[in-house]
Symmetry: C2
Subunit: 247 residues, 2 copies
DNA sequence: CGGTCTCTTGACCTCTGTCAAGTAGAGTGG
DNA sequence: CCACTCTACTTGACAGAGGTCAAGAGACCG
């Protein structure tokens, strides 16, 4: 039986790690005891920029954020989506320069842990080091599924797949509250996530609504029928590695 | 000054790690001393399958391999490409089940290291542990660039970008020999890499040839003009994190 | 030297993009 | 509570990149 996480600012982050890794009470306490500050960003603010070097490990406390890259021609692609509880930049512990942009999708609250403090933690606690790697590997696995999504699914399945993924990822850290009441992205952002155009997102959303998979009210979009969505996307959650425990 | 790698079966793997991480002579010796066996696969053979659990860490000695996922509808997407010197499955040290298929692109020679031996090595040598993580992170960075490629570049730029990437990745481990003399993939495999169809790859290859970026003879394709390719793809190699040393 | 697997090519189709104009929410200030 | 404004969303007409189908030509292999 997994020890219960303690309550505190870093609680959500802890819960995220516990969703895929086992940590002793001591390890959990060490995480909860990390010195940290808080920082708020508005929607669309840059949190980190390509080319930067970072000395902080930001953790998403509330709101959504995403990683983004752009072509010279102005095409923009969102390459990862982060939800509350997610650490946003483990990479800077290991690699000098940041290779993508990190942006706030909604207004966000961040916890900022000094990279040096986090490094110390990881060096002294193997189970935490391991949890960090598992976290990195799961993000990479999600990236591979996105490649399949962009390369081989049509607009309808692509959008349905994304909605399914968000649904299940939110389940893991927020067992009780905060589900996908309202999709927090504009149609333009959905387009940048899925390699489509805003106009086509609009048409596809309308089609999802027509099929009863999604409900809309004003600008809001919410999941209407997860079973229908799963069917449309042929969604399987194995790539999310939920319940990796004892692996 | 980086100590010279020692010569042996694991030499190429060592050189790959040294291309992005610093390792002491002791660390290098410990890697070279890893007990291992060899295994050969034919082109198209599966090396690992989705759902498997692996107790070995395969390292690519010669030939090319790729990670692949498929949709229920039969769409196939190659989500990573591995070249000689690349370790093919660090992930199984940390995560229970494999979430994609690993297949030989050409006939390949693998070095098989027992996962338990590799884990021991990583536990006792922090610099090696770090190098493994950097390796994982660089693969993830490549995945993000591929997402941009699939989502926001047209067929011509997409193909040009892939060829540029292969060119520079091969430079890193094979400073002297083995460059991209002949692209080792069929047009069908290129299609699966780029989210296109074989027919369209054919047309695009023809266009690249017309522009002098690529040379062809019989079935063979080779890079004719890397400068032209870079221009077509707007290629920048920062995402490959070459020379990450002292990071 | 026959068989098989790629590659080529042309005709045609369709999904998604482009352009442009109009509508409707959400926030602001009066 | 009502303008006013800004942004996001809608919609239709049209365009175009890339997909599909199918047949034929080359390569490579035993």
């Amino acid at each position: 039986m997994q020890p219960r996480p303690m309550v505190g600012t870093l609680d959500l982050f802890l819960r995220k790690l516990l969703s895929h890794s086992l940590l002793s009470t001591d390890d959990q306490a060490a995480i909860a005891a990390l010195p940290h500050s808080r920082r708020r960003f508005d929607a669309n603010d840059y949190i980190l920029r390509e080319g930067d070097q970072s000395d902080a490990c930001p953790i998403l406390l509330s709101g959504f954020a995403y990683r983004q890259k752009a072509t010279e021609e102005g095409g923009r692609q969102i390459v990862a989506l982060k939800i509350p509880g997610d650490a946003l930049d483990f990479q800077s512990m290991y690699v000098r320069t940041i290779d993508h942009n990190l942006q706030a999708l909604t207004p966000v609250d961040l916890i900022i842990v000094a990279l040096s403090d986090f490094e110390k933690l990881v060096r002294s606690r193997p189970a935490i080091a391991r949890a960090v790697i598992v976290d990195i590997l799961i993000e990479a696995s999600i990236g591979r599924e996105w490649l399949l999504n962009l390369g081989r699914r049509n607009a309808l399945a692509r959008l349905a797949h994304l909605l399914c993924e968000m649904h299940y990822r939110l389940l893991d850290t927020h067992a009780e509250g905060l589900d996908l009441r309202d999709v927090p992205m504009t149609q333009e952002q959905l387009a940048d996530l899925l390699g489509l155009t805003p106009v086509h997102i609009n048409r596809t959303l309308k089609e999802l609504e027509r099929r009863g998979a999604v409900a809309r009210h004003g600008r809001g979009v919410r999941i209407g029928n997860i079973v229908a969505l799963r069917a449309l996307a042929n969604f399987s959650d194995t790539y999310l590695h939920r319940n990796n425990h004892d692996g």
